[in-house]
Assembly symmetry: none
Homo-oligomer: 222 residues x 2
């Protein structure tokens, strides 16, 4: 993931760069608006962190001009203190989020993750014991042999494996796999978990789907 920081104060810029690199993002810095806009328009970045007050063109100008060309790269504004008004102009200019200085680094990280989340589908293969789920070919293999899963079964398994080792709450599952964002009272999840467990033959595979009562499920390797 490539991040461009457009920020004139070297102290802040380097602080951000260093921190993000520790999180294994790849970070470039531009120290003024003009250079920043140029680099941003190269289109090689996944997200922009944009200071409000900049020499050259102001942050908001950069934002506006950038948005004319590139619509989908998220922009997060780094606004000074209390200027709600700035924030507002920023949002109107096409920013996706804003964060007030001084901010905690964790906060910045979470903002970035929120913006990056929908896009980041890095993996195209997941392993689970002796089972392999391949997103490209949309296949599930167990020791060379293919296990045929239906759409929903596949989607559910994919979700569980994206979160391997972490608890998948029922609400998360119903959101991600079934795309139901409000009320639900259904036992579908149970039925599909059951189907998965049967089809995958998990007994001897070094993996299992554990149920956590009252919460959800977790895909675990032994």
């Amino acid at each position: 993931m490539r991040i461009l920081v457009i920020e004139d104060e070297p102290g802040i810029a380097n602080f951000i760069k260093q921190g993000l690199e520790e999180e294994s993002y790849s970070v470039d810095i531009a120290y003024d608006g003009t250079k920043g806009l140029d680099r941003a328009l190269s289109g090689e970045y996944d997200i922009l962190l944009l200071d409000w007050m900049l020499p050259g063109i102001s942050g908001i100008e950069v934002c506006r001009k950038f948005r004319k060309d590139i619509k989908d790269t998220p922009i997060i504004f780094l606004t000074a203190k209390d200027t709600v008004q700035d924030t507002i102009f920023g949002l109107q200019a096409g920013a996706n989020d804003y964060i007030k200085k001084p901010f905690s680094f964790d906060e910045l990280l979470e903002r970035i993750r929120v913006q990056l989340r929908p896009k980041s589908g890095e993996h195209d293969k997941f392993t689970f014991g002796d089972i392999i789920l391949d997103l490209k070919t949309h296949q599930v293999l167990k020791k060379e042999e293919e296990i045929f899963l239906t759409q929903k079964e596949f989607a559910l398994l994919e979700f569980l494996l994206r979160n391997k080792g972490k608890v998948c709450r029922r609400t998360q599952i119903i959101e991600s796999v079934w795309d139901i964002h409000f009320e639900y009272n259904t036992g579908v999840i149970d039925v599909y978990i059951n189907a998965l467990r049967n089809k995958l033959g998990l007994q001897d595979s070094g993996a299992h789907i554990k149920t956590i009562r009252g919460v959800g499920y977790i895909a675990k390797e032994n």
Copy 2:
């Protein structure tokens, strides 16, 4: 952590409530602006989720009136679709953040965490002697090994550890963990404390749950 959801659509409200409770927040719902404002002004909440369109007083009015009295409780607006303008009014009225409907539950969670973090160091891991409680994976570990706790056991331990070193009164416990806000005469707490002490094997762990007669319990490290 107590959260008040002010939202007139029961479907959405309950969905949020359920999801947040799975994350072990304590959630109340108000179905219109007037009631919502009343409850919010009681000052017992750590964060407000506020719908824009409400019967009674509008969300923005609630926000404005609330901010006159209480400055520091974060407010997150749940705004409909694309109305940037609404967002902007919301921020001017004193909201801290906004999230567009329909939103993914994960995004809401991160927004909430971001708001809560600076205030009281919202952790996702707690330690207690040689025991680690992990909120993300919903696991309790003791020297690499997992200790399986039920929902209530987990919630109780979490509450004790959030208040590590501080006395937890029985009323507080029954309110936060069992969500009982009135009279109670039950021995559940005792039963669960007992279960915790047994399951956690606290003898040699450098930690213990001390009972304070007539008052409650306290989780202490030696």
